[in-house]
């Protein structure tokens, strides 16, 4: 992103955010797999698990592609 300043690309920070959130949401989804919250609709679809997995894949890809030091 920056030619003058060599700043770490914003996409790397996006990747870190998505990766960390993905892990947190995925793990909390797994923890609630057998005991989903009763007041949440469609809890049987286990949205936190596959949404968390999606965030992990996207976040990991961004971290890898835009990691500091990569030309």
């Amino acid at each position: 992103m920056s030619e003058k300043h060599h700043i770490i690309p914003v996409w790397f920070f996006v990747g870190v955010l998505l990766l960390v959130y993905g892990v947190m949401i995925f793990v909390s989804g797994l923890a609630a797999w057998n005991n989903p919250p009763p007041d949440v609709q469609l809890a049987e679809l286990h949205a936190p698990v596959w949404w968390g997995a999606l965030l992990i894949i996207l976040g990991g890809t961004y971290c890898l592609l835009f990691r500091p030091g990569k030309a």
């Binding site: 992103m1 920056s2 030619e3 003058k4 300043h5 700043i7 770490i8 914003v10 920070f13 996006v14 870190v16 955010l17 998505l18 960390v20 959130y21 947190m24 949401i25 793990v27 909390s28 989804g29 609630a32 989903p36 919250p37 007041d39 949440v40 609709q41 469609l42 809890a43 679809l45 949205a47 936190p48 949404w51 968390g52 965030l55």
Partner: protein, 568 residues
Amino acid sequence: MTPLPALFVVQRLVHLRAVDLAIIVFYFGLVLAIGFYLKRFAETGEDFFLAGREMTAWVAGLAFVSANLGSLELLGWAGNAYQYGIMAAHWYWVGAIPAMLFLGIVMMPFYYISKTHSVPGYLKLRYGSEASALSAVTFAVMTILMSGVNMYAMAVVMEVVLGWNLHFSIVVSSLTVGVYVAAGGLFSAIFNEVLQFFLIWFGALLIPILGLVETGGWSGMVARIHQNFPGRDFTHLWSPMHSFSSNPMGIHWTGIVFGLGAVQAMGYWTTDFLVVQRVLSAKDVRSAKLAPIIGSFFKMAVPLIVILPGLLGRAVLPFHLVPASEVQPGQFKYDDVLPLMLARYCGPGLLGLGITALVAGFMAGMAGNVSAFATVWTYDIYRPYLRRDAPDQHYVSMGRWCTMIGLFISIAAAYVVMRFASMMDYVQALFGFFIAPLFGTVLLGMLWKRVTRMAGFLGLLAGVFSSVTIFTLMKLDPERWVKVFALSPEAKGLAQDMYQALWSCVTCVLVTVLVTAVTKPRPDEELRGLVYALTEVPREEHASLFHKPLFWAVVALILFIVLQIIFW
């Protein structure tokens, strides 16, 4: 004045678990860390106020669209979608896309080539100090008040949704925003807007996905709405607007096309410095032209996470929401629809992500306002009128200081709004007074070299005056004046805003043309790089088709038209 207990005695919509709190805390930690990291790069005025003018088209484009994707907008427009149906999507489509494309293709080259730091800066170059000072002072005041409104709105939402203490929310959010914007300037604001963009999409996208699963797709949702609200049309965009009385908004299609599309949207997206500043940070003219066009594609998709949840609320919620003025204990208002839908589908973890997206949206709104305020104050008020020839470092220090001072004024504004709740509507209305006439002034200045210094100033002044007059008359005696200015007694608040914008812009243009006819124009040499006829705009003649901004603008326009036909 609304008594405080009446304002705040409300039930909590959601309960957070440890994982949700961890998600919120991580966000605060990350934005502060980014702010401190970026501080070392914000050394010169151009770095601090324009992010070094080195952003790619994608970063500038996402920041551009994010600056308008604050939580106040998300909650408000989801509520409007519940209230008015899919017609609320006009504010994302006809009320944004043509204006964003116009900014990219026609106006951005002039802003960029003139090397101005701001919209008032362009007015100074084109018209001189009178129009520039009027625009700069009003913009600075309005921006800081809007930041206060954002702060207060966030604190109220956090109290209603999570039961958090109002003062805690104001202090924590404003200090965080103050620290990271004062440290990294526009770099920080833009980085956080890009983060916010991803947070909002990933925090809110599950609502329409799971909502459509629950209702059995679009047709299932429409069937449920018809079942819950028989005889009312919430799912058509244009067909209910053949008359004022045939739609819940009380608006005719002329109000949407001319008032919203041709004036209000053009005014907001092309002259509101808060959004234009993001595009000015682009690294070259081509990126500056492409940024709003990239933003337009994402803007077209925003109804998916804002309008659709509002419509789904009509279909699946087991109770009816009511206007804020009529809410009773145990009831929910229109603007609660997004948090309600979030709580309906999102358990621990996902709920934290959704709430963090709302917090990020509020904080990005504040950051956008204070960074724009710091730029306009420093470059358009302080430098020309108070200290003309100081070294660059002095202006950077001034930018950092007035970021913090601006935030303290915003906090004061938040507490004033807290005491006088109706002020919130008026502050938002105040912004509208200046945007529509400003568009007339800037556009005439760019396209017509004959327009004179005095014509620009008087046209802008007359436009603002007419806007204030129309607004006041319609508020004081709606029975008499709404049918005159908004063309029908059926016109509701949003419809009145559209016609107010239209008439104020028409007044501005008429006065500008008349005064131009009787005053002496500036010589051509002084206008090079500022008006269309005297500026060599770089063309992308040797670029491939896919690298030409015009090509993508045409693609966006076709997509926009297709969406109108689908939901006609």
